[in-house]
């Protein structure tokens, strides 16, 4: 609320005092036994963990205090490109917290977890319909986990046919998780160039698409916010050499109900439920990265999968089933989905809590509402782009490629840098003083001084206007007063620019304790 009132950066370990505590241990209600019987000395901890010693009020005040040193979506515009910082409905927190969901043990018997399994099955069906692909696994924990699953599926698919294809094509605009994933899955990245229109350079693709190619990973619209005009040709080329197409679903918010990855020819899609489907970002997770796949990939899916079985009067008897359906975990029945599974990617069944939220969202909006999501997301992005042009911002921050955009757009800060001597980083930091979260910066890599702006559908026109005006004001300020103002920014934040180099050189990554 004011600089002087904002709490210090003392950590919880620097607070408290000996013997203070928030925890009161439940009473020992069983007969005491001697220490050695309970746990022989040689297994016992030598030095106690120096955890904090604080009262409950101290904990609350500490964390409420530092929470105020965060900017957050509920407090302001957060146009972080590629991240889809859309409104997080509180209903989702309410339903996820219901004890029947939140306090359900993952090893509860399926017959006694029918609600959860039904929810998962319903969600699988909905995601399959949205993706235009028939089979879904909800297991991956986030986007990059979904990617890993996807590349491994591709590998398994080829290996199953006796092929050891080692190349994965990724455009130079790809998100870092794409190449990182490829390596982890034991394959090799081959970069594809971007053409003048901002799409895949089809000639380059044609040149590189050979029998060693396992897969092409793509996000469409891509990280430039552009829908690839040649997607059909690209798909044909890739399929032509026997490779699969992987769809990075981070940008799905542009096309829900408008265009489906499956219809574009993709074999595997991951969803980012924390982007398109409102799972709150939590300061960097949790997320959830379900995948949808085509028939030819289904056999390799991670297990368990959630299946629905029709049951007769007998199965319905125990009251656990609804309308004759019973839901179960399937570990890959012969010939079906998961039957030649790549295996497990994690413990249990995925981030169920995130699935609950995504499911609530889909049920809230339905087909019509979800299409409105994408329509509005694209409208907002194009309007903001147009508004920036109207305000003359485009002169210094031109659109990197194309004229229109999908749900986000990428500006180049090159002209600004040359004309006004401020970099994209300076612009971003100065935006902080205006109360906005900056766009994603310096990504994608091929755009000079890139600024990637994704307003999302849940923002009002007023907010878009205010943001456009802030950008214009910063440019005007630089033109009039020189670059120093922006270069010194931010001024009004809890801390100012931080020395990241020093942090990495001599890393201090925990509180020194005495």
């Amino acid at each position: 609320m004011s600089t002087s009132m904002s709490p210090s950066s003392d950590t919880i370990f620097q607070k408290g005092g000996p013997g203070r505590r928030a925890f009161v241990c439940p009473e020992l209600d069983v007969p005491a036994a001697d220490a050695e019987t309970l746990l022989p000395a040689r297994f016992r901890r030598l030095e106690p963990a120096r955890l904090p010693e604080v009262s409950e009020p101290e904990i609350v005040r500490h964390y409420v205090g530092i929470s105020k040193r965060n900017f957050d979506l509920d407090s302001g515009f957060y146009p972080l490109g590629s991240c889809t910082m859309k409104h997080n409905p509180r209903l989702h927190e309410r339903v996820a917290a219901l004890p029947g969901h939140a306090r359900l043990h993952p090893l509860q018997d399926p017959e006694r977890a029918q609600g959860a399994l039904q929810l998962m099955w319903n969600l699988q069906e909905a995601l399959a319909e949205i993706a235009g692909l028939p089979h879904v696994s909800l297991q991956p924990s986030a986007g990059s986990h979904g990617e890993l699953a996807g590349v491994m599926l591709t590998r398994a698919f080829h290996e199953d046919r006796g092929q050891r294809r080692h190349k994965v094509l990724t455009p130079d605009t790809a998100h870092g998780t794409n190449p990182a994933t490829v390596t982890m899955a034991g394959l090799e990245v081959v970069k594809l160039a971007t053409d003048a229109a901002g799409g895949i350079d089809v000639d380059d693709l044609r040149a590189k698409a050979d029998a060693d190619v396992a897969c092409l990973m793509l996000t469409n619209p891509n990280t430039l916010g552009l829908f690839d005009q040649n997607i059909e040709q690209i798909a044909a080329l890739v399929h032509g050499v026997g490779a699969t197409l992987y769809y990075d679903g981070a940008n799905l918010n542009a096309v829900i109900g408008i265009s489906r990855p499956g219809d574009m020819g993709f074999d595997i899609v991951h969803f980012n439920l924390h982007k398109s489907f409102t799972q709150p970002h939590g300061g960097g997770g949790p997320g959830s990265g379900p995948i949808a796949v085509s028939e030819r990939i289904a056999a390799f899916l991670p297990t368990p999968l959630v299946v629905r079985r029709e049951v007769g009067a007998h199965g319905a008897e125990n009251g656990a089933s609804l309308s004759g359906a019973r839901f179960d975990l399937d570990y890959g029945s012969a010939g079906g989905a998961g039957s030649r599974s790549i295996g497990r990617l994690r413990g249990f069944h995925g981030n169920y809590g995130c699935l609950v939220r995504a499911y609530a969202y889909i049920r809230s909006l339905g087909a019509e509402g979800l299409r409105d999501v994408s329509e509005t997301a694209v409208l907002n992005a194009n309007y903001l782009l147009a508004r920036l042009a109207q305000l003359g911002v485009a002169e210094h921050l031109p659109l990197a490629y194309g004229e229109l955009c999908m749900h986000e757009f990428v500006l180049s800060g090159g002209p600004m840098k040359r004309a006004l001597q401020i970099q994209t980083l300076d612009l971003a930091k100065r935006l902080l003083d205006f109360g906005f979260h900056p766009p994603t910066v310096y990504f994608p890599l091929l755009v000079e001084e890139a600024l990637m702006v994704e307003p999302t559908e849940t923002e009002t026109k007023e907010t878009l206007d205010a943001f456009a005006e802030a950008l214009a004001a910063i440019l005007a300020e630089a033109a009039e007063q020189g670059p120093e103002v922006a270069r010194g920014a931010p001024y009004t934040t809890p801390v100012r620019r931080l020395d990241e180099v020093a942090a990495a050189k001599r890393p201090v990554i925990r509180q020194a304790l005495t």
Binding site: T11, R21, C25, L28, P31, F43, R45, L46, P48, A49, R50, P52, V60, L80, K86, P99, H101, P106, Q108, Q114, A116, A126, E147, H175, G176, T177, A180, T181, L226, F227, Q229, H281, G282, G283, G284, P286, G343, G347, F348, G353, V356, L365, A367, G369, D372, T376, N382, L385, A386, Q390, K429, L432, T460, K461, R496, R497, L498, A503, I509, R510
Partner: protein, 479 residues
């Protein structure tokens, strides 16, 4: 317009005008090739008002038997610990719930400080000097450690104790295929009682580990609840896996000893850093996170200093701002995918920041003395429960090793039917071991977990219900 969007008719007209198109449709027509445009509405149920969505999700919840609805002794990786109310409050604060990864540190000091504190707490808990800010969850944390081992020593074998959680072993196998590594399982001593039964067989462990072994994995306590001799396993791994011949530089290619921990036991159990372990990984759910049918939770990842620059995941570091003020940033980002791309130490991006907040707040809440007291309580109750249950006719200890908060039984009756009988009496007696491991030797195995929420009365009730169920089952199906 939906309840989450805000384009009024006037807004729409002005916006289209500014853009220079006649309709939203035109934006798509001009950008999405007709061949891939969906020409129909999605086949999804129509949208619903908030109250109807709530009612539907509540109906689904009511069709689950949660830990609120029965006396549950389920564990095997996730446990029904009491989550104090202040954690809900903090995790629901907009300031923690709704931002993303702290890319702009000036306006993300809250989240970054939480990471820094979390790292400190995990270092303390594991007695290891470095920790990241968490990864996805338990089993994949082990897989991440395997990748780190590969990057570190370039060796190609992963030796894994069979007494680890089956999900961990399965996950390691999945990832290892990608890494191009081989997984070798080390059997454990027969699980049917005997003093050392239920633990990793030390000789086999030593034999399995060679100079091409990149990392060796065990769990403490292991999947069967048994306390392993961690010092011996670590020492044996280091010795057996030393380079051949031993290199002049002191063999820093030796296999990494990776221990999967249950954090809640670390108040009483010797810490990884105290018994020669290189990397501690584990499922963080017991630390202030809900059961949530298995996720989201968090994966613990701590290590010796030498591995710092090869760790996966986010790491927060301390620094100063231009005014010399203390602050925190994401550091060592050159390890990460967004900088290092195909040479990154991991592909992880979105992780489990909010869950890590829950964990560090929980540890602050438990506190220095509390984590020991809680550990002692679990020891005592677990000891009591084990004695009570093994006194039942037809119920035996699967092993007699020390246990902390979970132990394995062997029933002389079909576990599935016994569990079903108990369930009808409102008691979930624990996990059917064989159903999870698929191992013949685990037939009859029941894994019983104790938390501070399971009182003596609950344990006594379990004893009575289990005794009745086993008796009934033996009567029904004479041995």
């Amino acid at each position: 317009m939906t309840r989450y969007t805000a384009t009024t008719a006037d807004d729409l007209a002005e916006m289209l005008d500014a853009i220079g198109v006649d309709s939203i449709g035109e934006l798509f027509e001009r950008q999405v090739p007709p061949g891939v445009r969906l020409s129909r509405a999605l086949a999804l149920a129509p949208g619903m008002p908030e109250q109807d969505v709530f009612a539907h999700l509540r109906d689904l919840a009511a069709r689950n038997v949660s830990a609120d609805d029965e006396v549950s002794f389920l564990g095997a990786g996730m446990y029904d610990h009491y989550v104090p109310a202040l954690i809900d409050m903090l995790m629901e604060r907009s300031e923690f719930l709704t931002p993303y990864t702290p890319y702009q540190p000036e306006i993300s000091q809250g989240g970054l400080q939480v990471m820094f504190e979390y790292q400190t707490a995990i270092c303390e808990l594991t007695a290891l000097p470095v920790s990241n800010a968490s990864v996805y969850e338990g089993p994949s944390a082990a897989a991440a450690a395997a990748y780190m081992a590969k990057l570190h020593n370039g060796r190609s074998r992963l030796v894994v104790s069979a007494a680890m959680h089956p999900h961990t072993i399965q996950t390691l196998r999945t990832y290892a295929h990608g890494y191009g590594m081989e997984v070798v399982e080390v059997p454990m001593r027969g699980t049917h009682a005997g003093l050392d039964a239920g633990t990793t067989e030390l000789e086999a462990w030593r034999a399995a580990i060679d100079s091409d072994t990149s990392a060796a994995f065990f769990a403490q306590p292991n999947f069967y609840g048994a306390v392993e001799d961690a010092d011996a396993l670590s020492a044996a791994a280091k010795a057996a896996g030393a380079a051949d011949p031993v290199r002049a530089d002191g063999d820093d290619r030796a296999p990494l000893v990776v221990c999967q921990v249950d954090p809640i036991t670390l108040g009483v159990l010797r810490a990884p850093g105290e018994c020669g372990v290189d990397v501690a990984v584990g499922e963080g759910q017991p630390l202030g996170n809900r059961l949530d049918f298995g996720g989201p939770s968090l994966g613990l990842f701590a290590a010796r200093e030498v591995y710092l620059r090869r760790m996966p995941g986010r790491i927060a570091g301390e620094t100063v701002d231009v005014d010399g003020k203390r602050g925190f940033v994401l550091t060592l980002q050159t390890r990460e995918q967004h900088i290092r791309r195909e040479r990154a130490t991991s592909n992880i991006c979105t992780s489990q920041a909010l869950n890590a907040l829950g964990a560090v707040v929980y540890l602050a809440w438990l506190g220095r003395e509390g984590i020991v007291e809680l550990g002692e309580l679990l020891l005592a109750r677990t000891h009591y429960a084990r004695r009570q249950l093994t006194a039942i006719d037809g119920v035996h200890a699967l092993h007699e090793r020390p246990v902390v908060r979970e132990f394995a039984l062997r029933l002389e009756a079909d576990v599935a039917t016994v569990r079903a009988r108990c369930a009808r009496a409102g008691v979930n007696p624990g996990v059917d071991i064989q159903a999870l491991t698929g191992r013949e030797q685990d037939r009859g195995g029941l894994l019983v977990a104790i938390t501070e929420r399971r009182t003596r009365a609950d344990i006594d009730r379990l004893r009575d219900v289990l005794a009745a169920a086993v008796a009934a089952e033996r009567e029904a199906v004479p041995a």
